[in-house]
């Protein structure tokens, strides 16, 4: 691990000012992803800003009947919160589908949104990676890419976003609240928060340098049946090959997908269609697959079919 200066600011604005003053700085919350990357020197921050004591760890009622989740609420606590279990079950389900008990005790709401891809070439500093080293190329395009993205990719990057939680947040139309060093605040819709790779895969979010996430807000509960179905290579503690988050009501349905794209994937236009085949075709329209990951098209359609059958058992006949 490279040497860094360690800072423990007293409040969020000090944290944002420190980050703005030091371009090589990183905030540390749970640290479960950042320290992993620092050990292999994919991340080499000159300054570490410890934000664990900023009081951003509460879950409160939000205006309009929603829920405001502090950036530092741990994944375990969010999944176990009674209001989340009752009104946003898809979020609880997505959270407990991810990582391990130990990691969920540390990992935070904002950190989960900001976690980096597990593309093997992003981790391997001996190989080209446009996300890690802009302009160096993409070893994944012709390499081991079975787990990587099939939609939303570019000629420069096919990395997939690893989060389960973020897929549920996208489904629920969450808003990301931020603070900048000049005191300005923003509310970024989750749909605009994660960027597609395009020609700049190293730019992953809408955050400006030094901008700190303070909370994630959920709108009022949707009701309906909440489902998160994750398919992976082993039964537990593995990243998704494909995951489907769904809220299904008699009058409306919405779906978001994990494991297939550089960001949580949702195609609103597909939600007015009927049946897994039509919805899956619309969601993966324009997909660019490789020999190794083309199976995800079939897997997505079948997983969606299983979700629909689960949500509407009466339609099985």
């Amino acid at each position: 691990m490279r040497p860094f200066s360690y800072h423990r600011p007293a409040d969020p604005i000090e944290a944002a000012r420190l980050a703005a003053a030091h371009p090589g700085a990183r905030f540390i919350a749970g640290g479960t992803n950042l320290l992993d990357l620092m050990k292999v020197q994919v991340e080499t921050p000159s300054h570490i800003i410890d934000i664990n004591h900023l009081g951003l760890d509460r879950i409160e009622k939000a205006d309009g009947g929603g829920l405001r989740i502090g950036a530092l609420v741990r994944n375990t606590d969010l999944a176990a919160d009674k209001r989340v279990r009752e009104d946003y079950a898809v979020l609880s389900r997505a959270l407990v589908a991810g990582a391990s008990g130990q990691l969920r005790n540390k990992a935070t709401t904002a950190g989960n949104l900001l976690q980096r891809t597990r593309c093997p070439y992003f981790y391997d500093t001996n190989r080209p990676c446009n996300k890690r080293k802009p302009g160096s190329g993409c070893a994944a395009l012709g390499g081991y890419n079975r787990g990587l993205a099939i939609v939303g990719t570019s000629d420069h990057c096919i990395a997939s976003h690893p989060s389960d939680m973020a897929v549920a947040m996208r489904l629920l139309d969450a808003t990301v609240e931020t603070l900048r060093s000049d005191g300005a605040t923003r509310a970024i819709p989750i749909a605009d928060f994660h960027k597609l790779p395009g020609k700049a895969p190293h730019v992953e979010t809408a955050l400006a340098p030094g901008e700190i996430v303070t909370a994630v807000t959920l709108p009022a509960p949707l009701g309906g049946r909440h489902i998160y179905r994750k398919v992976r290579d082993r039964a537990s503690y593995a990243f998704a090959l494909v995951s489907v988050a769904a809220v299904i009501r008699p009058d409306a349905q919405r779906f978001a997908f994990g494991g297939i794209a550089p960001r949580p994937w949702r195609v609103e236009a597909a939600e007015s269609l009927d049946g897994a085949d039509a919805i899956a075709a619309s969601v993966t329209d324009g997909a660019r697959t490789t020999e190794q990951n083309a199976f995800k098209l079939t897997l997505l359609r079948r997983t969606l079919g299983a979700v629909l059958a689960d949500a509407r058992p009466e339609s099985r006949a």
């Binding site: 360690y6 000090e14 000012r17 279990r85 391990s100 008990g101 130990q102």
Partner: protein, 205 residues
């Protein structure tokens, strides 16, 4: 806590900060090791004062600086669970957190759960049920299991919980919740039996 000033951020900011180490090092250049930083940890009921390079993980602080080698280093990347300890009542991977982030925290390691002549019920159950072969993952398994039963007690749901509002002990719950602890010898059936035994006796940490 010792508070040091941050030269680069000015006096107003520095007053609110605790910091240490070097100024910005150019990427790719070898910087001088950071200045050690004071860290206080309450480990197994005893307050310990340390002076640590801020890069020191909690795992290395326990093993290398406090001589508590019961906690094991396996993968050092949060994948195997051998380094599991209990901090503030919660199990975490001690390899994926910095000791400086835990200034003032309460840490329980395998040495704090029980001693050879006074075993914790979970340690006893692992012996009775032969919940290991080589034993390297065992301290992590035991710390994880103790905190995991507490999570069930507190109603924390898991991936296999059928009804999110009804959290109860079962073998399936144990297998899912212990998936962050790998046993290369595959003593899993006996590990589950040991945990079931402790849960059934109602003996909790």
């Amino acid at each position: 806590m010792t508070r040091r000033s941050v030269p680069a951020t000015g006096a107003a900011t520095a007053a609110a900060l605790s910091t240490t180490g070097t100024a910005d090092a150019a990427p790719g250049r070898c910087a001088a090791p950071p200045e050690p930083m004071p860290v206080r940890l309450e480990v197994n009921g005893r307050m310990r004062a340390l002076s640590l390079d801020p890069r020191t993980t909690l795992l290395d602080a326990l093993r290398e600086h406090l001589g508590l080698t019961g906690t094991k280093k396996g993968c050092d990347h949060g994948q195997c669970g051998a380094c599991t300890v209990i901090v503030g009542g919660r199990r975490i991977n001690s390899c994926l957190t910095l000791a400086v982030m835990h200034d003032g925290d309460q840490v329980t390691t395998i040495e704090g759960l029980g001693a050879p002549d006074d075993l914790h019920p979970m340690q006893k159950a692992f012996v009775v049920h032969d919940g290991y072969q080589c034993g390297y993952c065992t301290p992590g398994q035991i710390c994880s299991a103790v905190a995991m039963l507490d999570e069930i007690e507190r109603g924390v749901p898991s991936h296999v919980t059928a009804d999110l509002m009804q959290v109860a002990f079962s073998d399936d719950e144990v297998r899912e919740r212990m998936s962050g602890n790998i046993c290369r010898c595959a003593a899993y059936p006996n590990i589950v039996a040991a945990i079931r035994d402790v849960a059934g006796r109602g003996e909790k940490a």
